[in-house]
């Protein structure tokens, strides 16, 4: 590394005004969408437009102020982008509620959004230096495990729609896996920073691949076994795939060894085949993936009905969509949660979905940029891991509902109705914001000028 000089490290701009403008823009888009729903359904601007719009705007202004105070150097795009996705999710849920779809509740989702912003703020205020998390590596690991298995506890755990991934506290249901994924990413980051040298260097070369030592395979096998256990016991294909995939990606970032990725893929394929042989519901998903339009599968319980309804909705939307409030997203089972993406596709069309995917891609890109700009390995791994898990989750659920890959249930980050996911993802964003703040913060300047530094010409 060359010695940094004052000229070579320009101060990154804080871009606070730009962020505020972008935030306002996101809120305006969301309010416009609300108005659109009302106009289409009963010909007038809905009374709730101001409530919802200003409510969301108020939350985001609060988030912005906290961010400006406690993470002034943070990336200016992350918050407005997340606001836009969260707001569009609210509009879709509002729209489904207007169509009298059972279970859809925009008010609940708005309250959860507010709670998410509170957790975002608390995280930023309390966690002044994210490296503190490195000290909590094994605590995080334990917390993650406990959260993940908590739905199995008698009396506490609840089984909804065939997957035992909920715990009931009082009247509310929580999906602990959403929080577990955060804790596990923290754990992976801390663990891999400690072990990366051993995992990266030890081993021997076979053909073109550097194979790791057998005993270093331990952590990989443990994670693999654990993911399989989640799949087997809780029937939660999505979380299992999410956690294992993220672990492999982080392992690769830490060690730069392709062999880990190959081993990971082999283990995954092996596990998938095994699961497919043992569990009929895994096999069913795969058959549905291959033949969604088969009439026999369509009529079968747990068959392709839901997937195909989603595809019909997207086909109906076409390039420009039916317009908000003018389609029939209500026809798709769970249109407000797992299937909110096709529901959006029906009303906003290909145009809307491309924009939505672009926004997700931008959030991930800002996260990865933070990771590259971060100054220590733990921050790099944590930011990289969090960004990847977001991208991976979008890929698994959106790919699933669009029949690109077999369908596994996961929430669409920030869009699907559900408090746990919203809270967990807002914390995830707070962590990214915290890290981007420290990555972009100018390094401490020398107190006195030590004279010109020689820069070598190369």
């Amino acid at each position: 590394m060359s010695t940094p000089s004052a000229e070579l490290v320009p101060l990154p701009a804080k871009r606070r005004v730009a962020q505020l403008v972008m935030l306002a823009f996101a809120i305006v888009i969301v309010m416009g969408a609300y108005a659109n729903v009302g106009l289409a359904i009963d010909g007038r601007v809905p009374a709730g437009m101001l409530t919802y719009g200003l409510g969301l705007g108020g939350f985001m202004l609060a988030a912005y102020l906290v961010l400006a105070k406690f993470a002034p150097w943070a990336d200016p795009l992350i918050l407005p982008l997340v606001t836009l996705v969260n707001g569009l999710g609210l509009v879709m849920i509002y729209r489904l509620e207007q169509a009298k779809m059972g279970g859809a509740s925009a008010t609940n989702q708005l309250v959860w959004t507010g709670a998410g912003v509170v957790l975002f703020s608390v995280t930023l205020i309390v966690l002044r230096d994210h490296r503190a998390l490195q000290r909590l590596t094994y605590t995080a690991g334990a917390v993650g495990l406990i959260l993940l298995v908590s739905p199995l506890t008698p009396f506490l755990g609840k089984e909804i729609n065939g997957a035992r991934i909920w715990i009931g506290i009082g009247g509310a249901s929580l999906q602990p896996a959403e929080f577990a994924k955060l804790a596990l990413v923290v754990f992976f980051a801390g663990y891999l920073v400690a072990k990366r040298d051993v995992l990266a260097l030890a081993g021997r070369r076979l053909l073109f691949i550097d194979l790791p030592r057998a005993r270093d395979l331990g952590p990989v096998l443990i994670t693999w076994g654990f993911s399989l256990a989640v799949l087997v016991v809780q029937k939660d294909l999505g979380s299992s795939l999410l956690i294992f995939g993220t672990f492999i990606a982080m392992l690769y970032i830490a060690t730069q060894r392709t062999s880990w990725v190959l081993i990971g893929i082999l283990l995954f394929v092996g596990g998938a085949i095994l699961a497919g042989m043992i569990f009929s519901h895994v096999q069913d998903r795969f058959t549905v993936y291959l033949h969604p339009q088969d009439p026999a599968l369509y009529d079968k319980v747990g068959g392709s009905f839901q997937l195909l309804q989603g595809l019909f909705a997207m086909g109906q939307g076409g390039v420009i969509g039916t317009g908000l409030g003018q389609g029939h997203p209500k026809l798709i089972p769970l249109a407000f949660s797992d299937f909110i993406f096709p529901a959006t596709g029906e009303e906003l069309g290909l145009t809307g979905l491309m924009a939505l995917l672009m926004v997700y891609a931008l959030i991930v890109e800002r996260g990865l940029r933070t990771s590259i700009a971060a100054r220590d390995p733990f921050s790099k791994l944590l930011a990289g891991g969090l960004s990847f898990i977001l991208a991976w989750q979008v890929f698994i659920i959106v790919g699933g509902v669009t029949n690109l890959i077999p369908l596994t249930g996961l929430v669409t980050p920030f869009m699907s109705q559900g408090g746990s996911a919203l809270l967990a993802n807002w914390i995830l964003i707070a962590l990214l914001v915290r890290m981007s703040d420290s990555a972009r913060k100018p390094p401490p300047q020398a107190i006195q000028d030590e004279g010109m530094t020689q820069v070598f010409q190369r």
């Binding site: 659109n36 106009l39 289409a40 990606a249 690769y252 970032i253 830490a254 060690t255 730069q256 339009q293 369509y298 195909l308 595809l311 019909f312 909705a313 997207m314 086909g315 109906q316 939307g317 076409g318 390039v319 420009i320 317009g323 003018q326 389609g327 029939h328 026809l331 596709g345 069309g349 290909l350 979905l353 491309m354 995917l357 997700y360 891609a361 991930v364 890109e365 990865l368 990771s371 590259i372 390995p377 790099k380 791994l381 990289g384 960004s387 990847f388 991208a391 991976w392 979008v394 890929f395 959106v398 790919g399 669009t402 029949n403 690109l404």
Partner: protein, 485 residues
């Protein structure tokens, strides 16, 4: 760690690229297939979401969409014209549509590319897309008069009236018919049951007999044979005398061809005018045998018979004089029997062509199409279909047909103060069965405003039905309705 991070970034990029490509594939490439899948109930809902355009005939509304306020099935179709206009409007059922509702479906439901600009404006203003309205050429007075006269005393049959100079269809009636209002509700089961009942009815009330069925035209076809004769030789006039034996021996068969009821035709040698007035069979059979099959077929084609299938815009069944056989067959063909099959519309075109100085206009039902705001999108443009005969020959034929009404078999079609031309037909169907009664006519001869053809089906008006007694009075009431208004 930056190198693997960059690779992970590329991997993320690839994941998003895959999602985007897949979304494009679904919503742009596969969209039509997914949309039209029968399991996609959105198609069914969509039928009731759009305020379909109205079907009108001048000021009279024949079909309109009513806002029921229902959440799921908001707009439902009503047919104020009911049975009288059913063969024209057709119906808009949960899973299908028929006649005008089918033929102009894309304009009525607003999805036609012609309405792109309107839809664009609606998209910006947030208005719901409304369908275009279709205005028909139908003259309600004529339509209602025709329906009344035809449906009286349980007749079965059809009538088509055309404006000779344009080809605009003024009336199109088919009886027995049905009430389209029974087929419009969104409840599939009820509608399917109602339709099933109509479909099982052996009178086939849903069929539009005016354009979907063809019948042997009987003696009305003699005007085509006569047109061929006039066209073959300019020296032929209404006064030209031809042989008219009581019975014509058909060559190479044991059969004979008698006149109607075996009667004599004058003295055995009569003028063409007399032969047409009395509707003698033998002179026309003789003329046709002399002219040959090709000449007759060529003349028929010039009237539009056997040409490309017509669209008005509904599909019209084909008409034709049948294949070439022997002279005996040709003799029967020339008087509208044998394999000779005509739709009532086709015979109306023959009458209209003669009335319009030999020029046959393309028949049409749609007068103009306007978008929901009243802006005109399309208007009818009368086009010539063919020239059937020269102006002089058409004048001669007209003169003879006027004589048929004034002095011949069609005196029941006389209208005081109006020169009416016409030709009756009584077509045999099967031995021992009652004949079809036909009538074709036009009026006024000097400046034709209406030409029509009608058929009263075999058995529905008594065993002694004939063109002159059964059909001509119906034609008269329809012509009066048009000329009186």
């Amino acid at each position: 760690m930056n190198a693997p991070l960059k690779r992970v970034a590329v991997a993320c990029l690839v994941m998003f690229a895959l999602l985007m490509i897949n979304v494009n594939y679904l919503q742009a490439v596969r969209a039509d297939g997914l949309r039209s899948d029968s399991r996609n109930v959105r198609n069914f809902y969509a039928r009731y979401e759009v305020e379909r355009g109205r079907i009108t005939a001048g000021d009279k509304v024949l079909a309109e969409s009513v806002d029921t306020g229902d959440n799921q099935f908001r707009f439902q179709r009503r047919y104020p014209g009911g049975k009288v206009y059913a063969p024209i409007t057709g119906f808009f059922a949960p899973e299908s549509e028929r006649d005008m509702e089918a033929a102009e479906n894309k304009l009525l439901n607003g999805s036609s590319p012609d309405l792109l600009v309107r839809r664009g404006l609606d998209l910006i203003s947030g208005e719901r897309t409304k369908g275009a309205s279709v205005d028909l050429t139908i003259n309600p007075k004529a339509q209602e008069a025709a329906y009344r006269a035809l449906s009286a005393s349980g007749k079965k049959g059809a009538l088509v009236a055309i404006e000779p100079k344009t080809g605009a269809i003024l009336a199109m009636v088919s009886v027995p018919t049905y009430d389209p209002n029974t087929l419009v509700g969104p409840d599939k089961d009820t509608v399917n049951k109602a339709y099933g009942k109509l479909d099982k009815n052996e009178d086939k009330p849903v069929i539009d007999r005016a354009v979907e069925r063809s019948y042997p035209p009987g003696s009305t076809f003699k005007v085509v044979t006569l047109a061929a004769y006039l066209e073959s030789d300019d020296s032929v006039t209404p006064q030209t005398e031809v042989d008219a034996p009581q019975v014509l021996d058909l060559p190479n068969t044991s059969a004979d061809l008698p006149n109607y009821g075996g009667a004599a035709c004058g003295s055995g040698r009569v003028t063409l005018t007399f032969a047409l007035e009395r509707s003698c069979n033998t002179p026309f059979a003789k003329i046709a045998m002399n002219l040959g099959y090709d000449a007759l077929k060529e003349q028929a084609e010039k009237f539009g018979i056997g040409g490309d299938p017509l669209k008005i815009p509904m599909d019209v069944a084909g008409s034709g004089i049948g294949p070439e056989e022997d002279k005996a067959a040709l003799a029967q063909t020339s008087i509208g029997q044998r394999s000779n099959q005509m739709t009532p519309l086709q015979m109306a075109m023959v009458a209209a062509g003669i009335a319009n100085n030999g020029v046959v206009m393309k028949p049409y039902l749609v007068n103009k199409i306007a978008d929901a705001e009243g802006g005109e999108i399309d208007a009818a443009n009368p086009t010539e279909l063919s020239t059937a005969m020269s102006e002089e020959n058409a004048a001669k034929l007209k003169e003879m047909m006027v004589s048929v009404v004034n002095n011949g078999t069609a005196n029941a079609a006389q209208i005081p103060g109006v020169t009416v031309g016409g030709k009756t037909g009584t077509a045999e169907t099967a031995r021992g069965k009652a004949p079809h009664a036909w009538f074709i006519s036009f009026a006024p001869a000097e400046d034709p405003k209406i030409a029509l053809a009608l058929i009263v089906e075999s058995g529905s008006a008594g065993d002694d039905a004939s063109g002159g007694h059964t059909a001509a009075p119906i034609a008269k009431s329809v012509m009066e309705a048009v000329l009186g208004g």
